[in-house]
Amino acid sequence: MQKNIRRLLLIFLLGVLSFTPNLPVKFCQEALAGPMGMDEPSPPEHPLTLDERLVLQNAVSVLWQDTALQKPEALQALDPTALDIPRDIFVDPPNDFFYNGDDIWIFEGMVRKMAVQSDGIEGISKMQSFHMQAKRQADGTFRIVSIHFPPLDR
């Protein structure tokens, strides 16, 4: 008896969901709206400059090689403009920045390391995707909020 009631309730719920206008469209729109699945925030008053992007790109290259710097307390103290420039590590493509509101930018892409292979030919010896969040401070400088290097699918 209870089983039948549960089944009836389930059928009723499915019916309501199926006949609600635009519900599937809303699900799709939310899934497509930006990296966090939310509506895209308004553009910032001061968009990132080329130099700011280059500095943040370089920070990814440095942090990739230094796991100690990836810890939250180390990131808190990090000045991205004061980092060295790694010679054979690079971020590409360079334009995947998303504004996420509250002066926070999300930066996603691929970081690569070039090395001479065992056969003597230069090539990419290591590559990894990254996901970084950086916040512009009141004084205009940037602080890196978080950085992750998820494993590559391929």
């Binding site: 968009p47 990132l48 400059t49 080329l50 130099d51 992007r53 280059l54 500095v55 790109q57 370089n58 403009t81 004061a82 980092l83 060295d84 420039i85 010679r87 054979d88 690079f90 590409d92 493509p93 334009n95 691929m110 690569r112 070039m114 030919i121 230069e122 090539g123 990419i124 590559m127 391929r154």
Partner: protein, 218 residues
Amino acid sequence: MTKKAIFPLVLAILLAVAPVQTVSAAQPSPDTREVLHLRQTLFTLWQMGFSFSRPLDAHELCDVTLRFLIRNQFMHSAAFREDQPARFANIPENYNVFFDKALVEQIARYVFNGWIDQNALCPGVFLGASGYYVDMERLHRDISINDDTFLPGYAAVESLQQQDDGTLIISGKFRRFKLNEDSGKEILWGAAPFMARFVREDGQWRLVSFIITEEAMG
């Protein structure tokens, strides 16, 4: 009494510090942000296949400056008609992208060592009150973009030397990579050693020369 004691002390400190500041202000070495910017400038020139083989005429300077801007920082500095219709009011429909006047002229000056002649603009470009309007379709028609343009690559700075006169010499190597379908690895697809010379003018680095020092590969 205290004021009398402090004044000579402050004066002495100022006199001691002033000459040092003058010297360092005249020849400051580039910081990380500047090196990254110069490296990106050189890499863009390589991607464009640009060389300083001869002086540019007015049309060429306009053309190459806008192409550089589009390739180097299109998404950072361009304004689009669909985003800012007010800016494009009364501008012919075919002009759909806008660049700030100061930015365009800064690149002409500091990268290509020239001044944009407003009476000799290249086809597909229109100068408004505050900047340059570009007919992207017209400009694109003449741009040869091959598959290699979008391959991952970078400029490795191998040496950075500042001369006594403040000139900055950067040398290194450009590389780009392509996925080898057989091995599944990205292998070197193009490379070129380079050397560039910059001088500092009005607080910015101006490119004086840029050469590929050996035969490029790829």
